[in-house]
Amino acid sequence: MTDLLVALLAAFAVWTGWRVFRVDSMVRASFSLMLSFVAVGGIGVLLSAPYIGIATVFMMAVEMMVMAIFMVMFMMNPAGLNPMSMVHQHRISIGAGLLAALALGAAVLLSPLPSNPVLSEADVVAELGHELLGPSMLIFETAGVALLATMLGAVILSSRQGRFGNSDEGSRPPGLTPEGEPAGRKPEGGGGHHHHGGHG
């Protein structure tokens, strides 16, 4: 029964992972990826790792929500409902995908996987906590500080206010057509481009 569930969840994870590249919207892609991780989290629960499994779902839910917003922002895809392609640089990505799949597949098939059933009375959540705050404390805390530094860096980089004035001063949004008028906000002060009458 557990084997069947693991197989079904694995198949669902692969299918939703494939959907990420086949759907036509950043929002759909993000949440397809989330469903893939939800399935992986389910497998974690079935493998007697309830905390890691459920926490995966929780973290991925928050993360994919953030990612959907950022991707819609950066892709200039209004609201994430405009059709767009999820794939680019076909030749390189096919090569990289094949290489990664072969390498990971080989790693799984060639490494001796331990058969170490968890005792039903084992308190796996407490053991995980002792491991994380004991022998693995250094790795855990290093990762935490690195992530915090990344977040601070991202906030500082994306801040409009800066030491030398506003970061978007004099910048011009890309045109709707090559060399054309930008959509939405018009640049201040002209910037050398003439406004030919009519609407953009």
Binding site: S25, R28, I54, A61, M65, A68, I69, L81
Partner: protein
């Protein structure tokens, strides 16, 4: 016993939702809604438009299923019950977002993005409140958290917990000061392009989430099913109903501010407050 607990979860959800709608004085409005025709928007995301309310309802049910109805008796008696509830919270934000996003129309979309901007920072105090409640029990399991409150309820030894959690509940149920999704100022936001049975189901799911979140608040802070004379489930129902009334009253009485100001309040005031709350709970638990 499992069947009985499943029945208790579903019954509590159904009766509680009716109670929530009645408290808002909207039974007639809701019933009339089911007779109305459905609105179609151009090129919606049909899957999410049709299923958002179902997911909302499912998340309310999943959240309630980890709540113990009697000491030591929960439908899903997981060692990480409180993490399951946290996951339901995070997925609720996504569900509300998809509800607004899927109809492909301006007001629902504004509601969706606005709600996410507020909902994600609300998740942070929520996690600290949940962790603080788990500290005295030294366990992430909800039955253990109930047991840890035999001597003293968490509402007394963690005084900031329930007020902070109230903000989370109001956010999850799209109520009053935290209703940045379906508010009147953007023509009912994520529900603006919805009518008929779909709208009705969304409202029912919102009411069900109030039941679920209030039951969890009762478990975390008011000792859940613990109490003298009366059996456990009755105590849980009484406490849940009382909290539902308080949350509904707060939703009606507290004014909503602008999203930008609410963001400042969340990051500058409530997040440090939740740090303080966790530190106090930790010192007390030691």
């Amino acid at each position: 016993m499992t069947a009985l607990l499943a029945l208790a979860v579903l019954g509590t959800l159904a009766l509680g939702a009716v109670f929530a709608v009645a408290m808002d004085g909207r039974i007639a409005q809701l019933a009339a809604g089911f007779a109305r025709q459905r609105i179609e928007t151009e090129a919606p995301d049909r899957l999410n438009r049709d299923l958002a309310a179902v997911w909302y309802l499912a998340l309310a049910a999943a959240g309630l299923s980890v709540v113990p109805f009697a000491p030591g008796l929960a439908l899903i008696d997981s060692p990480v019950g409180i993490v399951i509830w946290g996951t339901c919270e995070a997925l609720t934000i996504i569900t509300v977002f998809l509800h607004g996003w899927s109809s492909n129309a301006p007001f629902p979309l504004i509601g969706a993005y606005r709600y996410v901007a507020i909902g994600l920072p609300v998740m942070l105090p929520s996690m600290f409140v949940l962790i603080a409640a788990a500290l005295p029990a030294e366990s992430l399991s909800l039955p253990a958290i109930v047991e840890s409150q035999r001597g003293m309820w968490n509402v007394i030894r963690q005084p900031l917990g329930l007020p902070l959690f109230a903000i989370v509940v109001l956010t999850l149920t799209l109520r009053g000061p935290m209703d940045f999704a379906d508010a009147a100022d953007i023509a009912t936001g994520t529900s603006a392009e919805e009518s008929g049975a779909a709208r009705g189901l969304w409202e029912i799911a919102r009411a069900a989430m109030l039941v679920s979140a209030s039951a969890l608040a009762a478990t975390l802070f008011l000792g859940g099913p613990l109490g003298p004379v009366l059996p456990g489930p009755v105590w849980l129902w009484i406490k849940t109903a009382a909290l539902m009334a308080i949350f509904a009253w707060l939703g009606r009485r507290v004014a909503r501010t602008t999203p930008s100001r609410m963001l400042t309040i969340l990051w500058i005031v409530l997040l440090p407050l939740s740090f303080l709350h966790l530190a106090m709970a930790g010192v007390f638990a030691l």
